[in-house]
């Protein structure tokens, strides 16, 4: 698979039979270095930026590699080398936005990443200062409520699908509609929660619990999917051994199946939380924004980190800069939370995942 298998016969074949030579191992790196240097000269001469330099280097390198290889090694190997360059280039290109996003958020958000930001709310703040304590609390409360509602429902549904459903009509319907739910755009989930509570309580409702319901709609399918996958990899022998010992089915599930795969389920749940904690649109529609601390999710508007960041950016006051700084720091905090949750999920799956794969 690595291509060494192809080069070996070429070098052992007698020189008479070898129609084409092969490039030395250092050739790709050599060409790349030469191209980079030449293009750096061109860029310096024309006064163009780093981006254009990288782009030109990539293009010229691809052309140079193809031509050299075509002359020395023939068309087939040249095409192979060209594709290698393109595929590697695509990967590097895909990394550029990731690095750029991380860099921008950290560089811009660092300004206000201070104690005040985590201990103050925006109550009575006009210009500088202030913080996002209320937004952080709001995010944790609403996401916590959403998790409290969707984890039991999601895990139990997955248990039903795997352990009890056995391809019944109901379980096929649930599987289909969980798929449908996976595709609900987040803003539509927000509209649903709003429509639900409008019908119940009259128009214009905005409080934390509505947002939690919207997030629940988004979170349930993720929890069901991941838990289902995990339950499916528990080997049937474990269940049968328990049944053979006379253990009732529900105790088998609780004491044998779930403990075996608890790590995997926890990983899925953590990733689901990480996924919904960054949702902006449904909260924008259902919860709105408040300037002060509000710990009651059943009464009046509540601030959340993403919405706080959005409004600070979209409708800044005068002067603008303190608002923009707070928007970036809120985004940075949000991203840190998401990244930490992702790392936690990886660690859980590394240390607690079932050893039966």
């Amino acid at each position: 698979m690595t291509g060494t298998g192809l080069e070996a016969p070429a070098s052992t074949t007698p020189a008479v039979l070898r129609r084409k030579g092969s490039l030395p191992r250092w050739a790709p790196l050599g060409i790349l270095a030469a191209t980079a240097v030449v293009m750096a000269g061109v860029a310096a001469a024309t006064g163009s930026g780093v981006g254009l330099w990288a782009f030109l280097t990539a293009v010229v390198y691809a052309v140079a590699t193809y031509t050299t290889s075509r002359v020395v090694e023939g068309a087939r190997k040249a095409a192979d080398r060209l594709v290698t360059v393109i595929v590697t280039g695509a990967f590097v290109l895909a990394m550029v936005p990731l690095v750029s996003v991380l860099w921008t958020v950290i560089a811009q958000g660092w300004e206000r990443f201070d104690v005040t930001f985590f201990t103050n709310s925006m109550r009575g703040i006009v210009g500088e200062g202030g913080g996002a304590l209320h937004a952080i609390q709001g995010t944790l409360i609403i996401t916590g409520l959403a998790a409290a509602m969707s984890i039991p429902v999601g895990v139990l549904t997955a248990i039903y699908l795997v352990e009890y459903g056995s391809n019944s009509k109901l379980s096929r319907a649930i599987t289909f509609f969980v798929d449908v739910m996976t595709g609900i755009p987040s803003i539509v989930a927000g509209l649903f929660a709003y429509a639900l509570f409008t019908l119940l309580l009259g128009p214009g409702v905005r409080f934390g619990f509505v947002g939690a319901v919207a997030l629940t709609v988004l979170m349930i399918p993720i929890v069901v999917r991941s838990t289902e996958e995990m339950l499916k990899i528990v080997p049937n022998e474990l269940r049968e051994a328990a049944f053979a010992l006379g253990v009732p089915k529900w105790r088998t599930i609780l004491k044998v199946v779930i403990p075996t795969t608890a790590g995997g389920i926890a990983t899925g749940i953590t990733l689901a939380i990480a996924r919904v904690i960054g949702e902006t649109a449904p909260l924008l529609v259902t919860v709105g924004l408040a300037t002060g601390v509000n710990l009651n999710p059943f009464d009046s508007r509540m601030a959340t980190l993403p919405v706080f960041s959005y409004y600070s950016y979209a409708t800044p006051g005068v002067p603008r800069d303190p608002f923009l700084d707070r928007a970036w720091t809120a985004a940075l905090v949000l991203m840190l939370i998401v990244m930490i949750l992702n790392v936690v999920a990886r660690l859980i799956s590394r240390y607690f995942s079932p050893k039966t794969r």
């Binding site: 895909a94 958020v105 609900i184 214009g204 089915k249 599930i253």
Partner: protein, 314 residues
């Protein structure tokens, strides 16, 4: 579990523990039914709240619902299609890099890194697109309209702020790239290694092996991954709302300051201040978005299912 196992198990367990089993099975089933109820709720509540917009008199909603939603549908599709066109080839290449080019030991770590792109909240992409990418795109837009202005897509005049459909499409492409990559990577890794080894043994180069063995095997995976990505791009809200400068024009011109809005972004921008019939109109447009994404997602599932029937991998 096969049906015979279940039957014999139930017979054996019945006399011993009826209550615990019944409670547990009942609550598991109840949770499943709850999901169906919730989804039925989503559909019916949205329909109820959207209905007034359909029957609204001309005086309250000038031009009617179709005239309001039409340009938004166009904008939604345009942005998503740009994202798809940009992201799919890149995602296939990235997936190939992870599955067949990168050293085996690195590939797991590399796929985590690509997954990180999917974990970044959309508000962060919105800030990044409006703050970093939009200004960067201005020289490119100018160059495009100067040199390729004869293509209707780049007719210009180029926007001076960079808040254009092109930038939206690029940001959406970055957001859906990890989704397509994840699906494509899984399928590429499932390619029967005998096919690959046979190709290599016949003297194929690595690229020829990929073209003959991996890509034909993974084609439906690429298509369904692209469909899932399209579904995500259609519903993306915040990034579009924060980047795009909307004029409501229906145009294929990607780099001017005249842009059509998208359904999701329009809801996010209008809903917080909306009242009366506007709320119903926005909910109706949300329903349209729901139907579009539903169709796209179901098409993707259908392709995946069909592949499962025909491939010998499972």
């Amino acid at each position: 579990m096969t049906t015979t196992e279940v039957k014999s198990e139930q017979k054996a367990a019945k006399p011993v523990t009826q209550l615990g089993d019944r409670i547990f099975a009942g609550s598991a089933k109840g949770a499943g039914i709850a999901i169906l109820v919730v989804l039925a709720g989503v559909a019916s509540f949205l329909l109820i709240e959207a209905f007034p917009a359909v029957t609204a008199p001309e005086s309250e909603l000038p031009g009617g619902l179709v005239a309001y939603v039409g340009p938004l549908i166009f904008g939604t599709l345009l942005g998503a299609v740009i994202a798809l066109v940009v992201a799919t080839p890149a995602a296939v290449a990235v997936a190939l890099f992870i599955s067949h080019y990168a050293p085996r030991r690195l590939s797991q770590g590399l796929s985590y890194i690509v997954d990180l792109l999917a974990a970044v909240p959309s508000i962060v992409y919105g800030l990044w697109g409006a703050w970093t990418l939009a200004p960067l795109s201005v020289p490119l837009s100018n160059w495009l309209t100067d040199n390729l202005g004869w293509i209707p897509l780049f007719a210009g005049p180029a926007s001076t702020t960079g808040r254009t459909m092109m930038v939206v499409g690029l940001v959406l492409a970055v957001m859906i790239l990890p989704i397509i990559t994840a699906v494509a990577r899984e399928v590429f890794l499932q390619t029967p290694s005998l096919h690959e080894e046979a190709a290599l043994a016949l003297g194929a180069t690595r690229w020829e092996m990929i073209r003959m063995a991996v890509l034909p095997f993974g084609r439906s995976g690429i298509i369904s991954g692209a469909m899932l990505g399209l579904g995500r791009a259609l519903g993306e809200t915040m990034a579009v709302a924060m980047i795009l400068s909307v004029s409501g024009a229906v145009t294929f011109n990607l780099i001017s300051s005249e842009n059509p809005g998208t359904i999701a972004a329009n809801i996010a921008l209008q809903f917080p201040e909306a009242s009366g019939i506007t709320v119903n109109v926005l909910i109706a447009s949300g329903l349209v978005l729901f139907v579009i994404t539903l169709l796209v997602n179901m098409l993707a599932r259908y392709i995946v299912e069909r592949r499962r029937d025909f491939s010998g991998a499972n």
